[in-house]
């Protein structure tokens, strides 16, 4: 499978945080959700792969080419949506476009106008007067108006109302339908990924915890509810994370059939992406590695 992005051994250190040997890859034609709690390292990873962070090590290849070899041509093929836009707030939408558009060799004014129309954005409006949702839509309009082959978005749905989030997801679906595209979508609101993601990458404390196809991941894991008295050390070790109360326990596991054999009277539930993400965090890294 062709890869739009391959990251290998990315390391970047700060005083209180570091990315440790981050490696993952994005296949063509996939919407990849990059998940993790606040401070897990999502933004640092995205900014590092875009060359915005200095002093990091590792290899970043876009479309099979090392970013250090041909940064300008590679960035010409990428659309970027930063959290909270990244605009000069005093400018109008058209003025901001006049600044950014000339940087791209394939800028398409017609696409830009049609996105503004689709999102009901007035080109004469000042950016500072836009709501958060409108700013994200404008950022998307800019990112998608130069025939980008890869869209990198940092927390685009954070702070958006449900309607705006649905509209954004619909735009992403339309974008992917063009074919030959890829999306890397960082978020801690995983319900959006339940709806749209094909692949999931999870990061925690600067380390990649897993990279897996979303459907496979969702099929593999189950939430199990049962009586507390049934638990013993052997059964506990089969859970990624486990919550116990006076009445019973709730646990996340990928060893479903094994547990079913040992405990026939249990309840099984299909987890959400958020359930799996939180179980990995609560279960700890050692446990997570065992379950991977």
């Amino acid at each position: 499978m062709d890869m739009v992005l391959e990251v290998t051994g990315l390391n970047k250190s700060y005083d209180s945080f570091s990315l440790k040997d981050v490696s993952f890859s994005l296949p063509v034609g996939c919407i990849t959700g990059f998940i993790g709690i606040n401070g897990a390292g999502k933004t640092t990873t995205l900014r590092s792969i875009l060359g915005l962070a200095s002093g990091g090590t590792g290899n970043v290849r876009f479309f099979g080419t090392d970013i250090r070899e041909n940064e300008r041509q590679i960035k010409d093929r990428i659309g970027v949506v930063l959290d909270s836009g990244g605009f000069y707030e005093d400018l109008s939408l058209d003025e901001m476009k006049k600044i950014l558009a000339p940087a791209y060799s394939s800028w398409c004014e017609q696409d830009y106008r049609s996105y503004l129309e689709r999102f009901s954005l007035n080109p004469k409006e000042k950016i500072k007067n836009l709501s958060r949702g409108m700013k994200v839509k404008y950022a998307l309009a800019l990112a998608l108006s130069h025939k980008a082959e890869l869209l990198i978005m940092d927390e685009p749905t954070s702070g958006l109302d449900p309607l705006s989030r649905i509209q954004l997801l619909n735009v992403l679906r339309d974008y992917m339908e063009q074919g030959g595209k890829g999306v890397l979508f960082s978020t801690h609101i995983t319900s959006d990924l339940d709806k749209i993601a094909d692949m999931l990458i999870m990061i925690n404390e600067g380390r990649i915890v897993f990279q897996e196809e979303k459907d496979q991941l969702m099929d593999r894991y189950r939430i199990i509810k049962g009586s507390k008295g049934d638990l013993n050390e052997n059964i506990r070790s089969l859970f990624l994370s486990i919550h116990e109360t006076d009445f019973g326990f709730t646990g996340m596991t990928s060893h479903v059939s094994q547990i079913q054999e040992l405990l026939p009277n249990i309840l099984l539930e299909r987890p959400t992406v958020e359930d799996i993400m939180l179980s990995y965090i609560e279960g700890g890294k050692e446990n997570a590695a065992e379950f991977n």
Binding site: K12, T43, T44, R47, S48, L50, G51, L52, A53, S54, G55, E71, R72, Q73, K75, D76, I78, V80, L82, S84, G85, G86, F87, Y88, E89, D90, L91, E95, K98, I99, L100, P102, A103, Y104, S105
Partner: protein, 212 residues
């Protein structure tokens, strides 16, 4: 791309561009009517220094207020090197426009005296020294710290001026034996050299800035 980055800075300060142009046009007229002995080269010098300083400060202020806009631009195909060189070109454009405005006025208002190339070279050298230091500092230390240093320098000017003026005769004695064309040629060469060194330093600092 460089032209687009120069245009970007002018878009950011568009509110003040006309104001500064008006100031450049009116300042010589004002001094000519009130203090004719100071009109002439001094108004040219003041208009260039003020225009560049105020417009450049305003651009950096806007960038300081919107740090994520720099992130977005650096995520685009604009190279960081050109983004820095755009600032130098922005200053040179303002210098050129101020010079042309003053030249025009000196042709229309004989009281301002005859404009000659030496004046343009001298003012160019002075602004090169100032901005040749100011811009790398800006990229190394950031807006807040540089603003503080600039403020100290401006406050120190009245104390440094008597010292510089006391040495004026010595400079004159050194310069006088040289033919004017050689002197201005040397001054221009040294200024360009300083500009190149300053631009290289600024590019180095900005390319190694961690924007994450």
């Amino acid at each position: 791309m460089l032209l687009n980055l120069i245009r970007k800075d002018f878009i950011l300060v568009k509110k003040y561009v006309l104001f500064m142009a008006a100031l450049c046009l009116l300042l010589p007229l004002f001094l000519l009517s009130r203090l004719p002995e100071f009109a002439g080269p001094l108004t040219y010098f003041i208009s260039v220094v003020y225009s560049i300083f105020l417009l450049l400060q305003y651009v950096f202020l806007k960038e300081y207020q919107s740090p994520k806009a720099s992130l977005l631009l650096c995520s685009s195909p604009y190279p960081r090197r050109l983004m820095v060189l755009g600032k130098y070109a922005f200053c040179l454009v303002i210098y050129t426009v101020c010079t042309l405005l003053y030249l025009l006025e000196s042709l229309l208002l004989p009281g301002l005296g005859r404009f000659h190339g030496g004046m343009a070279v001298l003012v160019f050298s002075i602004i090169t020294v100032f901005y040749g230091i100011y811009l790398p500092l800006q990229y190394r230390l950031g807006f807040e710290k540089t603003k503080f240093i600039t403020m100290i320098l401006i406050m120190a000017c009245p104390f440094l001026a008597p010292f510089v003026l006391s040495k004026a005769d010595m400079f004159k004695r050194l310069i006088q034996p040289l033919p004017p064309s050689l002197f201005y040629g040397m001054l221009l060469s040294v200024s360009f050299l300083m500009l190149i060194v300053s631009a290289c330093l600024s590019v180095y600092f900005y390319e190694h800035t961690d924007l994450a």
